[in-house]
């Protein structure tokens, strides 16, 4: 069983997925960050593959991408960093990124490498569902990789049903019409949207992302879904961390309310 499905089937508490940019804050920090996230009690780790033109991301993640690339990060180097990941990391790991670097690596070679190092799924926001179904789905499935698709407050019900039928693992529910890190907190309008989706009885569980930055917003989002995703707030924190490991553990525990 894919680690993501296993996690959702046995989870009793809200699931916390944390996004981090690979090769950030320093090139060789990737595994340090992953190990600390797990030590802090994170449930899913989402590793961002830096890209020069990340259009779905706001300034914080964009700048971290830029810094990582300037430090020499690449897809090939990331696989090098992750090659012994499964000796310590037991939680599900997702790679998040944009389609172009994946195309240049070669889709099949990329998926094979993901399976080899123990990646469980992919989030590629600019790979649309129609392209995924036509050209990628068979390859992803061959290597046991889940494709995590997004829905937004503007996604209509018919399309949500279709996304649900194509998805596996979970659906990434974007909390508002925005890029990452653009807004913080959860408003009443958003809660109505969360509620509407909750009542659709989708086959896949949902995690809510965008605008989640602290324990309060994490708990609020988790009321209407299986859990939530934190990205920009985490990246902002590690950008300034003096004791990377200790501060990551502290951050995760405070989000989860274990501190």
């Amino acid at each position: 069983m894919n680690r993501i499905s296993a996690l959702f089937s046995k989870a009793t508490e809200p699931i916390l997925n944390v996004y981090t940019t690979a090769g950030f804050p320093h090139l060789e920090d990737t595994m340090t960050v992953l190990n600390a996230l797990q030590a802090g009690g994170v449930d899913i780790i989402e590793v961002g593959m830096p890209y020069s033109d990340p259009v779905a991301d706001g300034e914080t993640i964009q700048l971290s991408n830029q810094a990582a690339l300037e430090q020499g990060m690449s897809v090939a180097h990331l696989f090098e960093q992750l090659k012994d990941m499964r000796q310590t990391i037991t939680v599900p790991v997702l790679l998040m990124g944009y389609i172009n670097p994946v195309l240049q690596y070669g889709v099949e070679a990329f998926c094979a490498k993901c399976a080899e190092v123990g990646v469980d799924g992919l989030i590629l926001p600019d790979l649309p569902m129609v392209e995924y179904e036509a050209s990628y789905k068979a390859i992803f499935e061959k290597y046991g990789l889940y494709n995590i698709l997004l829905i937004t407050p503007q996604t209509n019900d018919e399309r949500i049903r279709h996304i649900d039928s194509v998805s596996n693992g979970f659906i990434y529910m974007v909390s508002s019409a925005s890029t990452t890190g653009a807004k913080t907190g959860i408003s009443a309008i958003q809660e109505t949207y969360f509620d509407r989706i909750a009542q659709m009885n989708l086959k896949n569980p949902r995690l809510i992302g965008f605008g989640i930055s602290d324990h309060e917003s994490f708990i609020k989002a988790s009321k209407n879904a299986s859990g939530a995703i934190i990205g920009s707030a985490f990246v902002k924190m590690i950008a300034q961390a003096k004791d990377l490991q200790a501060e990551i553990i502290d951050f995760v525990q405070s989000i989860k309310g274990k501190k």
Binding site: Q104, P128, A177
Partner: protein
Amino acid sequence: MSFNVDERGYYGNFGGAFIPEMLYPNVEELRSRYLDIIAEPSFQEEFHALLKDYVGRPTPLFKAERLSAKYNTNIYLKREDLCHTGAHKINNTIGQILVAKRLGKSKIVAETGAGQHGVATATVCALMGMECIVYMGAIDIERQAPNVARMRMLGAQVVPATSGSKTLKDATNEAMRHWINHPVDTHYIIGSVVGPHPYPDMVARFQAVISEEIRFQLQEKEGRDYPDYVIACVGGGSNAAGAFYHFLDEPRTALIAAEAAGLGVNSGHSAATTFLGKPGVLHGSKSLSMQTEDGQVIEPYSISAGLDYPGIGPMHAHLFESGRATFYGVTDEEALVAAVECSQLEGIIPALETAHALAVFERLQAKPNEIVVVNVSGRGDKDLATYQNRLKLND
């Protein structure tokens, strides 16, 4: 073989709509409605009336006698430089703002590199009373101060793009981000035949008026409605798409695209995408783009701010791959020589972008009885500082 877009939004292997889900409703709304809107009689009437009375169309097709004599052939200049605002860009912004109105949008966002598309967008927003935000690379804002001033005088808000390389590609990213954050009331006017489907096709349709006019103007002047060659410069490729459009399926017309080779195709300072690019996804469509082995987008270089884009539209990628169009790389130096030549033989100072198209006559070797049409995409006023500096006009 078809050179037009198919129902999936592809030109051969290129095109599509590689966009985040956050943009899907906007792009889908546009995709599902643009053809019907454009076909409406009221749209056609308004579009053509504005092209005529506001833009000043049809633009002349001028027989360049002295250039023709020099190259021993028949050279015609399609005078898009005489359009209102000084370039072909306004054909597209007029069309798109009329689409935006019919979609019920009240605000416009756009990207600009050299500022020509930004000015053309700010112009139509003023005309239609719509709010206008233009993203422009912070570096370009410094380099293109007169166009920044024009946009502001027209009432547009010019926002510096400070991410990445702070130029056109980053301005495009920022405009897309803005659209993601304002999905309901805003239309994004892309300035070239790039971006997710249906943009490349929609922009090509609005620019197609260029080749439509070339056809009837040639018929009048030469008794045939096609040239042997159409030459246009290609950055993203909107003026070329317009100049080629009605000749795509005319086998008697050779399509010639001039790309900016900067300091030389292999100098490391170039924007010649068909020579240096690989298939990939940039700004929402699959096309050829300049990128590293790792798939990171490379910042291109050209003396011309309108040609230093790291990709080309998917239509052009298909024209290149299929061999339907021939692509030439033209260096900064060659473009400067051609700009002087056109200025001094014909009394027309071309934009630096256009100068690249004017630089291929020597290589073309057209015969004395053949007809060559060059699309003069813009006028050179905006490039005067570069000309002054590089040609030492004030020394």
